[in-house]
Amino acid sequence: MRPFDQPVVEAGRVGGELPSSGSGGRLRAFAPLRRLTADTDLLLNGLCVLFAVGFIALAVRSAAMSGAFISTDSLFMTAVCLMLAGVFMVSPALMLWERGLLKMPSFAIPEGEALIDEGPIHFEGSMRLFLNVLGGLLVLTVIEVALAYFQVPLYIMLTILIGLSLIKAALIVAYFMHLRFERMSLVLTLIPILVVCICLLFIFFPDSTRSLNLRTTRAGAVATPEAR
């Protein structure tokens, strides 16, 4: 996908775009600077790639060094490193894209596809399909309830429950809410936004466990001097 973009502009019509590297000639004002930077272009992007690789290495290190990787702190540090790596990858990726070395799938509608309400309404899925989905949801629910019945240990239960619930949510969103039959661009807009934002809320958890350990109402909350 070319996010929020259209090649009409890309090609350098009178749109308010940056000149592509091939057509920088318009920039009379910056001629000396351009000469200076022409050679550094690759170098700088290379530098960016180096930074990105460095951050990925840091992320891997953070993942490898932490004894318990499934601590939110360590997850968070890894995520931050990966994000910084992503930030540094933007510029090289843009360069590749500009030079046509990096292709992204397009989401154009096929000609003549019917629009919203007029004409035959596009509605995919049959009763059979929806019954199958409903059946799937029911089976998952039964598994969840069975877990509760058989008294699985709390943390295993939590993990499985969250996993199953995510599957159920995905089924509902995909089939009942019909997102599976919408265009990919809508899916790629809505889902990542929600996933990112909800994952961000998970950053609260290091503090909840920290709060637990620092509670004043807990016996032995403070190590006394002689205990140390």
């Binding site: 019509r13 000609e111 934002c197 961000l200 109402t217």
Partner: protein, 637 residues
């Protein structure tokens, strides 16, 4: 330009529109009758002006509150007879009490952040100009739009009411940190309610007000996003939108995702106050005579997380529209395309995205895990990168321009200057170590007032002076505008730069008086200086109000395009007709900032001007024709 290809291929072939979507939910004729026309209007232009007037009322209140605050800080204990008439309880005998000071602080913060910085640039200008700039005839959901405004208005009334209920205004600060805000009533903190007054107290009304505001904002936000995505006229690709539209778009996304979290937090805090739940209140607390046994198990840090998860994006909600307006105005009056349009868009999105990752920098010292703090710190400093890109590009836009120093341009330049001045100190505050001393001092106040307060307000001033001719069909007085600019620009620097050094010396914020502390004595002359600057600057603002209202009726008539600007709002009449373009459906042929195009007859080329090769192609398609595929064919029904 010579090698320009024909543009009409850009437009979808007519065939694709044969089944044009007729979701004309926004279709409505011009209203008749005063109430439908001016009060409960569904016209985005009227709603935009309503938002602006609301913000102007709120900013007046907020500003006067700040003058009162400065007066109390500079001359503590002085009796101001006038005050006693207005606030017989808070200022008995005309002397401000410390709790009255705190309620001023809270009201000033809430009023400014919510009802000025969020309302005016987004609700006001965004509502008025977003549909026009993308060539739509209204917002996607006009009725929802009207509801958003009136719900906001109810929130405003609730906030004003909070100041006048028994017990006085809320005293928890605009961040409303528990446990003070949750159990303040039980600790006999004024303005926090008491056992006898569980419901109608300042703090509860404050929560109700912001909860209402949250609902209004998120409804408004989804309206903005839908309008912008679905209702752009033909040829208006995203990369041809004015930067103002980009800024409103980004802001709306932030609002859509941030406000619901505050809403949830507000509900929980409200329950803590009224239903004795303990989401934010831990156990083992005491008021000195008894243990508050009804509370146990909560955590004040949870509120801080939820609040700042909203609060940090909110900062960008306030400033991003200002950035958009500034880019727009700078380009128009430098008579030069925006430098690095695409980079500007990416930077704006990067700021919005990173804005969600950094809320923890408000909480370094709040008892949050220090490891988390470290990660937040690094991310915070990366926000400097897109901000720097924007600054460079603004200066780059001026480079080689032919700058016309009109009033909107002066304010836009002021925005750039103030944004830099306020933004750079973020580098200091974003570092965990340095925050050890700087947190909760006047250094922070200087930083955020410059960058999200005054810079954003300068963006609004630029917008007002720039768009006033379009909104009311008359020019604002340029002479008065320039007289307004100078004391304002000098004044805000005189106020907020000294704040930084006060912070370095160590002046804590939210203090009703500094008399207690010896180490602050050295700052006495600075405090006095700032207060005088505040009074002069605030006085100068009345010039603006005078100019605004005088010009509505007496201003010089403005033509359709007095500034020789390029975007779509300037291709309709001033003020625009009810459906914005008089039934025309515009076609956009180029980017938004085509100034100084070599070979063009004028030094500006409107977005709707077809290229010479296509003059014979009808540029403007009449509404109702078969190729009106922009969801605007409501008029043929």
């Amino acid at each position: 330009m010579a090698e320009a290809e024909t543009i009409h291929d850009v437009i979808q072939p007519a065939a694709a529109h044969a089944h044009a979507p007729s979701v004309a939910a926004h279709h409505h004729g011009p209203p008749t009758g005063f109430i439908r026309k001016y009060i409960f209007s569904v016209d985005h232009k009227v709603i935009g002006i309503q938002y602006l007037l609301l913000a102007m009322a709120a900013v007046l209140v907020g500003m006067l509150l700040s003058v009162l605050m400065r007066m109390n800080l500079t001359w503590p204990g002085t009796a101001w007879p006038l005050l006693e008439i207005l606030f017989p309880i808070g200022a008995k005998g005309g002397v401000m009490t410390p709790e009255f000071y705190l309620s001023l602080v809270t009201m000033h913060g809430t009023m400014m952040v919510f009802f000025v910085l969020t309302t005016a640039p987004q609700g006001g200008f965004g509502n008025y100009f977003l549909p026009i700039q993308i060539g739509a005839e209204d917002m996607a959901f006009p009725t929802l739009n009207m509801l958003s405004f009136w719900v906001t208005f109810v929130g405003f009334v609730a906030l004003i009411a909070a100041a006048f209920v028994e017990g006085g205004g809320p005293t928890g600060g605009w961040t409303g940190y528990p446990t003070l805000s949750a159990i303040g009533g039980k600790l006999n903190v004024p303005g926090m309610g008491s056992a006898q007054n569980l419901w109608w107290n300042g703090q509860n009304l404050w929560i109700i007000s912001i909860a209402i505001f949250c609902v209004a904002s998120l409804l408004g936000a989804l309206n903005f996003i839908t309008t912008l995505l679905n209702m752009r006229t033909r040829g208006m690709s995203l990369m041809r939108m004015p930067l103002t539209c980009w800024s409103w778009f980004t802001t709306a996304i932030l609002a859509l995702l941030a406000f619901p979290v505050l809403l949830a937090a507000g509900v929980l805090l409200f329950l803590d106050r009224t239903a004795d739940t303990s989401f934010f209140v831990p156990g083992g607390l005491s008021d000195g005579t008894r243990v508050l046994t009804e509370h146990n198990g909560g955590s004040p840090i949870l509120w801080q997380h939820l609040f700042w998860f909203f609060g940090h994006p909110e900062v960008y909600i306030a400033i991003l529209p200002g950035m958009g307006v500034t880019s727009h105005v700078l380009s128009t009056f430098a008579r030069k395309p925006v430098f690095g349009y695409r980079a500007m868009v990416f930077a704006m999105f990067a700021i919005g995205l990173l804005g969600f990752f950094v809320w923890g920098h408000h909480m370094f010292l709040s008892g949050m895990s220090p490891y988390t703090g470290m990660a937040f710190s690094v991310l915070t400093l990366t926000i400097g990168v897109p901000s720097a890109i924007k600054t460079f590009n603004w200066i780059g836009t001026l480079w080689g321009g032919r700058i016309r120093f009109t009033t909107p341009m002066l304010f836009a330049i002021g925005f750039v200057s103030l944004f830099v001045a306020g933004g750079v100190t973020g580098i200091v505050l974003g570092q965990t170590s340095l925050d050890l001393s700087m947190h909760d001092t006047y250094f922070v106040l200087g930083h955020f007032h410059l960058v999200m307060g005054v810079a954003a307000i300068f963006g609004m001033f630029a917008g007002t002076y720039f768009w006033f001719p379009k909104m009311f069909g008359r020019m604002m007085s340029e002479r008065l505008g320039k007289i307004h600019f100078w004391p304002t620009f000098i004044g805000v620097y005189a106020i907020f730069i000294p704040f930084h050094i006060m912070g370095i010396v160590g002046m804590p914020r939210r203090y009703a008086s500094f008399e207690e502390y010896e180490f602050l004595r050295v700052l006495d002359p600075v405090v006095l200086f700032v207060t005088i600057a505040v009074i002069i600057t605030v006085a100068a603002q009345f010039l603006f109000w005078y100019n605004f209202f005088w010009s509505i009726w007496k201003g010089e008539p403005a033509g359709d395009n007095p500034w020789e600007a390029t975007t779509l709002e300037w291709s309709t009449s001033s003020p625009p007709p009810h459906d914005n373009f008089g039934g025309r459906v515009l076609t956009v042929y180029r980017g938004p900032y085509e100034f100084a195009v070599p070979g063009a007859p004028d030094d500006y080329v409107m977005q709707t001007t077809p290229d010479a090769a296509e003059e014979n192609q009808s540029p403007l398609v009449q509404g109702g024709s078969e190729i009106s595929g922009n969801g605007h064919n409501g008029h043929k029904h």
